[in-house]
Subunit: 339 residues, 2 copies
């Protein structure tokens, strides 16, 4: 009887019956925190098919920063998804090999918290980070590397070759295993913020104004797409209510159903310019446009400001990364090709 | 009397009368170790006009990695002087803004141990790291930034503006103070190696083969230019004995007297391709060419191999660098310009 009572109390607590009403409202709207508990977080970010281990993360970190995975040997994953500046490049259109721009004028999305996405890339064509990481390495306007050359680079560097053998003993080194190692590193790039503290029970973690902003965010309907742990990450129709104001910048039309991957709002204050085509620099303008385009609402300046106040609270703490000292090239390492 | 005796023993030790004969020979040839003593090292790398402080180094580190100091906001000091891969870019010719190559086909030199140079740049036109750092920021084929825009970027970011005010209270933020902060960070980029341990008294730090290599290095005359702590860093005539085999790659002719800044040999195994025009990938070939060009000697394969064995022992331990999380841009931060 006593045990049963204890259990029901635990169940009640788990369902947040005693939680702050705004927290309840947020959770009802589909908003979820980054778990405060390390084990729960680890479970959430792990990939059963590519289990996280310290060695794998360390190898992925090195490859993430290694420019030799690009044709020119000048561009690394970190060039466009720069961990120093919000996990992206802060320029309107992704620019890579030979200074080429993305042909659809697509903006580099942030790598931070991308682990929480349901799909990867703006058109959602990739299921996870491991698969995604193999794309930009090979894309001609990005790192422009032939996959066989990427493998050759890795195999030519004994420290890498040995690490792969140890970590993936049953698999050859391929662009797939390279993507798996990089994806593993990217999985740990999560940035807990005061917003998470608030949803996890610390009522004072957000100021009164930020809480009002969260309320407005939910009330006007932002959370209908920007939900889950990422506050984004699902495929959604775009535009819905009115044409997107800058639809003429580039020719991106979304996936085959016209859906676009909803970007995360975490660290959004650090990831201007906004939208798939990087057409808007101001967060206020971005919020206003989303109100019109997706919700069919002409948000007041006060509502916009309130939402932006909340969005600023989504800037999170970045994991500390030691800049790697990479293993040396050998005579067998393919030479850079700037052309 | 007792004190005097003690003093003379100390003096004898200081003059290395009891040192290993090869160490004595090396010192006689002008080779100097990175001091093992922290205070002595600090004194050696410090700049009386820009005293090292932790705050200054921290600010310089951030600026070193900050791509917003370039016109495109894509290129940082670290792009071409990459601390992950020997402190340079490992491509033949420096490539920067709009994928432009250095017009004289000059190779990016390593930033590691550049503090020990007498002059900076291949033509020695700059006296120190603080001055040097202002060059690539503004050079059109490198970061291509107008100095006023670099200042505007820094001033637009409150954390930077406050740091400069605190560190250089009597100076306005200018390209000069930006260079001073970056230069301060670069001063700590020294890489002690087993070679230094050997010169500092640990006779077993170098293998027998490496010691023989050092002997050969001195005997054939390499140390006549590659000396000092940097094993390089002074302005020297080039070529001396025979024309440089790849003189036709680019049009660099040295300074007004035809002198070229001798590059450091520290970490040389990590900084291929070699020479001012990056024309040679193999360290063996580079040594052979230097024998011909500078010393007028046709070094035997055995001599070349012995010298290369020694050069490999110059790969040093890199300082651990935490990849910075940079302060956010503001509405006043100039927008990137990819053109």
């Amino acid at each position: 009887m006593k045990t049963l009572f204890k259990l029901s109390i635990a169940a009640l607590l788990a369902t947040n019956l005693f939680a702050n009403p705004l927290v309840q409202e947020a959770k009802k709207a589909g908003l979820e925190p980054i778990p405060a508990d390390d084990k729960a977080l680890e479970k959430l970010i792990d990939n059963p098919k590519n289990k996280l281990t310290p060695e794998k993360i360390e190898l992925g970190l090195k490859l993430y920063f290694d420019p030799r995975l690009s044709k020119s040997a000048l561009i690394s994953c970190n060039t466009c998804h720069n961990l120093a500046i919000g996990g992206d490049d802060n320029i309107p259109v992704a620019t890579g090999h030979k200074w080429r721009q993305n042909p659809h004028h697509l903006n580099s999305p942030t790598v931070y918290n991308a682990v929480f996405y349901q799909r990867q890339f703006w058109d959602g064509r990739s299921p996870d980070l491991e698969d995604q990481a193999t794309g930009p390495i090979q894309a001609p306007p990005e790192m422009a590397m032939h996959k066989d050359m990427a493998v050759k680079v890795v195999k030519s560097i004994p420290e890498y070759a040995e690490a792969f053998k140890k970590i993936y003993p049953k698999e050859d080194i391929t662009i797939t295993t390279i993507g798996k190692a990089i994806g593993a590193f990217e999985r740990i790039l999560v940035t807990p913020s005061r917003y998470d503290d608030f949803l996890n029970g610390d009522e004072k973690a957000l100021s009164k104004e930020e809480q009002e902003g969260l309320q407005t965010f939910i009330k006007v309907g932002c959370a209908s797409c920007h939900n889950g742990v990422a506050l984004g990450g699902s495929m959604q129709p775009f535009p819905v209510a009115k044409p997107y104001k800058y639809a003429n910048v580039g020719d991106f039309k979304g996936d085959k159903d016209g859906k676009v991957k909803t970007p995360t709002l975490r660290n959004v204050a650090e990831t201007a310019p906004y939208f798939h085509n990087g057409a808007v620099w101001s967060l206020e303008e971005a919020v206003k446009i989303m109100g019109e385009t997706e919700l069919g609402k002409d948000l007041s300046d006060k509502e916009v400001q309130s939402i932006v106040t909340f969005l600023n609270a989504l800037t999170g703490a970045k994991p500390q990364v030691t800049y790697p000292v990479l293993p040396n090239s050998t005579k067998d390492t393919p030479k850079p090709d700037l052309n």
